[in-house]
């Protein structure tokens, strides 16, 4: 068979198959992993994943390598994980197109490289589409939504419907962008125009009356009683393992009438305590809050019994388990399951892992994971294993055949 590189249409991509390019990309990947590891000292792991790996261009802070007094918070662009991974995939594919000569003897190599490509693809799918959240349920209670504590959303909830509540939500990404660009959020799906005066990734809440020297931007609602003050984001090395509690000051304008509704303080400090403001827009009333990003499920989990057993006389956990009842009207299911450590519940595309529970067994918390690409790493490993078996078996067969020759 003629080498494919002799095909004039494929000759332009021959340089993409360069081994030198592969070496450079691997070297850059090693540097990126090193920088990302250093960055985790001051930033949370999810912030580093987003800033360094799940992006095309990473913004590397120079103070990772140089004294802060010299460089401050200056950053330099560096190829991000998706760019390096994408180029490696292209390099791999180009090498296979340009140099690879198909034969059964090389099928093992083909499978190994195919498995590697599937592995890289799996990470991309996970990065784009995987969802991780938490669901906390009191014993005897139930819940039908999970919350992602790494991200918040501005929510306006209309509870006037007889059969359903209508949730209008704005993502954290849009809130940040609106705050930094000083542009209002206006969307036909929202009853109000939202101007984000200030968005704080992490904050503390104090009583407005205690802080006479601070200017309070809020003109209505709970913001007249409380004041949010910015603090640094939680670091990965934070020994208290606390989480960021975002806050924002938003000015709302009724889209229908153009009437200014006021400036409100919204923060997870308040929404976690069931404290929300109510606004009126377009002739309807809405509950306003900044809450952790929610994923509502078409079914509900009831926590029937929570068991938190320790070895007798010690604080060493022996068994964390929760008996749950899944009520799914859509699928006509009403069944009980036990979720234990190392024994998750997989239901309707979600996987529930027993994560935490209160010492007094009053509440249980599940880590809820939805990842459409969860099978890809397993497929990749199987394909690579088969490829290696074929390759090594073939090499051994040929060696033993030659060894038998006089």
């Amino acid at each position: 068979m003629r080498p494919l590189a002799e095909n004039r249409y494929l000759r332009p991509i021959a340089w993409l198959a360069s081994l030198k390019l592969a070496v450079v990309l691997f070297g850059l990947s090693i540097v990126l992993v090193f920088l990302g590891t250093l960055a985790q000292v001051d930033q949370g792991i999810w912030a580093v994943m987003d800033q360094y790996f799940r992006t095309l261009i990473a913004q590397v802070e120079l103070n990772l390598l140089l004294p802060t007094g010299w460089v401050g918070r200056a950053t330099v662009p560096f190829p991000g994980g998706w760019l390096l991974g994408g180029l490696l995939m292209i390099n791999l594919a180009a090498a296979m197109i340009v140099r690879f000569r198909w034969s059964w003897r090389k099928s093992g190599l083909l499978l190994i490289h195919l498995g590697l490509a599937v592995l890289l693809l799996g990470e991309l799918v996970t990065g784009l589409y995987a969802e991780e959240a938490q669901m906390t349920i009191p014993e005897g209670g139930s819940s039908n939504f999970a919350e992602d504590i790494r991200e918040v959303e501005l929510a306006l909830v209309d509870r006037s419907g007889r059969l359903a509540d209508e949730h209008h939500v704005v993502s954290q990404r849009l809130l940040r962008r609106a705050a930094s660009n000083n542009r209002a959020i206006e969307d036909a799906q929202l009853p109000v125009r939202v101007e984000v005066l200030r968005f704080m990734s992490n904050s503390i809440l104090t009583s407005a009356t205690m802080s006479e020297s601070w200017i309070n931007p809020a003109t209505r609602g709970l913001g007249r009683r409380f004041l949010a003050v910015q603090r640094d984001p939680v670091a990965a090395a934070d020994t208290d393992q606390t989480i960021d509690m975002p806050a924002a000051y938003v000015e709302l304008i009724d889209r229908q009438s153009g009437r200014a509704l006021g400036t409100y303080l919204v923060t997870t400090w308040l929404s976690n305590r069931d404290m929300t403001d109510t606004i009126e827009a377009g002739g309807k009333r809405y509950e306003l809050s900044l809450r952790f990003r929610r994923a509502y499920k078409p079914y509900a989990l009831h926590a029937v019994q929570i068991d938190n057993d320790h070895y007798v006389g010690t604080n060493i956990p022996r068994n964390f388990s929760t008996r749950v009842r899944v009520v799914d009207r859509l699928r006509g299911q009403d069944r009980q399951f036990v979720i234990r450590m190392n024994q998750p519940l997989r239901y309707a595309g979600d996987t529930y892992y027993q994560s935490q529970m209160a010492v007094d067994e009053s509440t249980t918390t599940f880590q809820v994971v939805r990842n459409p690409g969860w099978l890809l790493p397993y497929i990749a490993c199987i394909v690579m294993t088969v490829g290696m078996i074929i390759q090594f078996a073939g090499s051994f067969w040929r060696f033993s055949a030659r060894a038998g020759e006089p």
Binding site: W102, L114, N144, A164, I185, T209, R225
Partner: protein, 237 residues
């Protein structure tokens, strides 16, 4: 197999499969989520009407004291498995006047003397509420003092015990400004369970000189109950 592809006028199997991988990659990258603004319905079913609420609230224990004052402790910053909120009992010193609770159900008192008037507030905030150093520097700013480095701010406080719980006491006096008397803040920070209790007295420096003893009586009378376990303040000296 390659003959099959050539009959169709296509590149061979290697090229086709590689091109497919590249295309899938490009499509995946191109298919980013675009869900900045969403609207969705959540049915009001018997299950959801019970459960359409934020992460479960901890059991709250509240009780009044002999003077009718009551504090409602806030939840901790951790959304999962929060400890029970503490309740606080105290005895109001003689010449202090208790004010109605406000905001986060703070307890507040006022007092007066020849040298002016002052106030005392009790407030409980979830988690560390910013940490002792940040709050000490904020109070320093309120009396006109310059902020200190975090460790220095810490070390400037005195370690105390309130109802068996470790705490910090801060005494800050500002400078006189034109004909205005110097302002003083005497405040205690007590970590209890997953919350932080702030007891803060403010007023003219000379008036607080007289009322400091009453503040000590208040701190000694404080009874903190209902939280899981006591916690040490961070970075305590």
């Amino acid at each position: 197999m390659n003959c099959f592809y050539r009959r169709l006028g296509l590149p061979d199997a290697t090229t086709s499969s590689s091109a497919l991988v590249i295309m899938l990659t490009a499509m995946t990258i191109g298919c980013e989520r675009s869900d900045d603004v969403r609207v969705y319905q959540v049915p009001k079913t018997p299950e959801t009407s019970q459960t359409d609420q934020p992460i479960a609230k901890p059991r709250e224990e509240t009780s009044g004291n002999s003077n009718g004052g009551q504090l409602d402790a806030a939840r901790s910053a951790q959304p999962a498995a929060t400890p029970a909120t503490p309740s606080i009992h105290y005895i109001v010193p003689e010449n202090w006047t208790e004010q109605p609770g406000d905001g986060m159900r703070t307890a507040a008192f006022t007092f007066e003397g020849d040298l002016g008037s002052g106030q005392v507030t009790l407030i409980v905030l979830p988690g560390q509420a910013g940490g002792p150093a940040a709050n000490i520097n904020r109070w320093r700013g309120q009396v006109g003092l310059e902020p200190l480095p975090e460790q220095t701010a810490f070390e400037s406080a005195t370690q105390i015990t309130v109802d068996g719980q470790p705490g910090l006491l801060v005494d800050l006096t500002g400078a006189e400004i034109s004909d205005q008397p110097a302002q003083r803040i005497v405040a205690a920070i007590v970590m209890h369970g997953g919350s932080t209790l702030f007891v803060k007295m403010t007023g003219p420096a000379e008036l607080l000189e007289v009322e400091t003893e009453a503040l000590n009586q208040l701190l000694e009378s404080l009874r903190l109950t209902g939280a899981d376990q006591p916690q040490q303040p961070d970075d305590s000296p």
